[in-house]
Symmetry: C2
Subunit: 399 residues, 2 copies
């Protein structure tokens, strides 16, 4: 008897999650053992609420178009599956004769897929549960990188490259610029800005990572040094940077001129804004902070072609593996070649990837803790793809 | 005797100012009456400080490459030319045998070119002074639109389109999103987001313009209405929105060199952040604010092809007109055709354009003051160019 497949997208979006969804649907349609393919509407919430939609009835053009459509077409949520939800989940899976379950998501989602698969097995219900990685934070264990990260990284690198030219040309007006990236615990996206840097005075000048405790003295020392050598300072910071004692920089108790502002409230302040204030308080400089927030997570016009393709293949492979009897795995990207860049698709046990985060390895962080190393360039450049080259005048003085 | 030409870029940057510079240099090289072409290093500051560079010595590839290089390759400044600077300016123009002076800039720059040309004429020094418009704010008089605006507007529309899909798909987690644009007095860039909207529940849902006093009651009423109908709210605000009494919504009290209030991230706070606080205080909702600040002013990878071309032609024409005896004019874009879009190059007296700003005409603003009209779509769509189309699932429920 033919059986049905179910797919869920969970957690925050990326530009290419729908490409994985496209890969999963298209592969399901090819597999003889799968009859209908259903989707959870609104992520894991859709699962516990039996809010399923029928993806078998979508047009071929829609399934193809998903490759290029940002965000989570099925709708997402951050619903945290409880142990107590499991009987209900099993009941729903049985009701719809679902034997294949695919979760596209981050570390929490991988944990959920693992828990569901384990519970079903314990109850004697045969379910093939497979995960497909997704997060712009790039903090999954077991994979060279995570789909969505290369595109978000490219967005960051383009912003720093172009915003850096602007800052250079405007240095008589504004002395600094601060760009803030998402990524609470891991600084991969902030680090990605390094791809824009070719020489000492090219932006970014200072990279602040959540992995490295923020030290105001060291920061200001580097700031002054860069300003004196380059004439302006380009700073990039991860949103989650913290002081040595763990206090978030974004929530520090710096004197506030605006009585309306309370620091530390959810989303009501930002690390970049606090750094801006600290610099303005200390020097007579002018600058700006840029907080594009989730925009790099949906920038389909800036998508890296290989990111779209890899996300698609990770989806296809998750289905192919499940249909050949695998379960409890997340499909992964394995770097096979540095130059030229080459990856193959692998798989990694869900219980080893679930709910852990992968910080930036020490070898990628420069000694001063505020810049990346050349080893990191080997990692990041092939993911982001070529950046545009811009001209620069010779500045030959007229006598 | 052959004479020399001088060009300055002044004020804030755009993605295509260098395209106008490219047009000016390339046309100067073609004109038999012009010998050398010089540039002011760091805008008008370079002029008063006799900091000129020799553009005649640049490679052809560099001059061509300027068309695609964002920001102000000559370096810019916001130096405010004083009446007392004029004798010095005249002395420098005479010293270098400069007969042609081109300023690429905003309203203040047009005023400067006008003042220099007038002073020289009064002193019996024959100078041909011409302006070339530039500002992402689109607030120049006398031109259908200003180079740099279409590209920045496209950046805004893309951000709202893609960020809107993200907000729609994440509505179970975040109920609203606020995007802030630059533009202190004119809301053209905030208005541009309208290009992303096709139907009622498409973002943006609320557009807040500096031209329309902010009314918190009306805002919350519309917010609730949109939330109930669409499930999430996408808001775009100009950085310079003010209450009816003129108080900035951003609560910023910091002023710049021209005593203008710094509304954006420069002021250490932002209108988007304050709106975010107001919404969170009133409802139990979660959302984010996005402040990309000057990034839309340098997004060369998102440049509109016609914007680059128009900027180039405005530069060429300024030189061509000056070499045929015109002076005291700014070259302009005149809309000749709606469908298909067609513009021609015109010219407008500098003294009529200088130091004025062009607000959004009332016919483009919807009755509630928080949305644009269909008339505005006719204006904006051809400037921005086609936006990507994304797919949407049918959401057929599984019984």
């Amino acid at each position: 008897m033919k059986e049905n497949a179910l797919v869920a997208q969970a957690g925050g979006p990326t530009t290419v999650i729908n490409s994985s969804l496209s890969g999963i649907i298209s592969q399901c349609l090819k597999e003889p053992s799968i009859d209908n393919i259903y989707g959870c509407h609104w992520g894991m919430l859709g699962l516990v609420e039996d809010n399923l939609i029928d993806l078998t009835q979508e047009e071929a053009a829609t399934i193809e178009g998903l490759k290029y459509t940002p965000s989570s077409a099925l709708g997402s949520s951050r619903y945290k599956l409880q142990e107590s939800d499991m009987p209900r989940v099993l009941e729903i899976l049985q009701k719809h004769n679902i034997r294949y379950f695919f979760g596209i998501g981050g570390n929490d989602t991988m944990l959920n897929v693992y828990q569901i698969e384990k519970y079903c097995r314990e109850q004697g219900y045969e379910l093939y549960g497979m995960g497909c990685p997704k997060t712009v934070d790039n903090d999954h264990f077991g994979t060279d990188h995570t789909p969505g990260f290369p595109t978000a990284a490219r967005y960051v690198a383009l912003s720093i490259l172009q915003g850096g030219i602007l800052a250079r040309d405007m240095q008589k007006v504004d002395q600094f610029v601060i760009y803030q990236t998402i990524g609470r615990d891991a600084g991969w996206l902030a680090a990605a800005a390094y791809a824009a840097k070719q020489s000492e005075c090219d932006p970014p000048h200072i990279i602040l990572l959540p992995e490295v405790p923020f030290d105001a003295d060291k920061f200001f020392k580097k700031f002054e040094n860069v300003y004196n050598r380059c004439g302006f300072v380009s700073i990039i910071c991860g949103e989650g940077i913290v002081y040595a004692d763990g206090t978030p920089v974004s929530a520090s108790k710096i004197t506030d001129n605006f009585s309306n502002v309370e620091f530390g409230a959810m989303g009501g302040t930002s690390a970049a804004m606090m750094l801006h204030r600290m610099i303005c308080d200390k020097y007579d400089y002018r600058g700006e902070f840029q907080v594009p927030e989730s925009l790099p997570m949906c920038s389909a016009d800036r998508a890296v072609a290989s990111d779209i393709e890899e996300a698609f293949e990770l989806g296809q492979e998750a289905v192919a593996l499940a249909c050949r009897g695998s379960s409890g795995l997340m499909t992964t990207l394995v770097r096979k070649g540095k130059l030229p860049y080459k990856v193959s698709i692998g798989a990694f046990p869900l219980d080893q990837v679930a709910a852990k985060t992968k910080p930036i390895p020490a070898k990628y962080i420069a000694e001063d803790g505020m810049m990346m190393t050349e080893k990191f360039r080997e990692y990041i450049d092939p993911l982001i793809g070529e950046l545009p080259e811009y001209v620069r005048l010779k500045f030959i003085p007229v006598k």
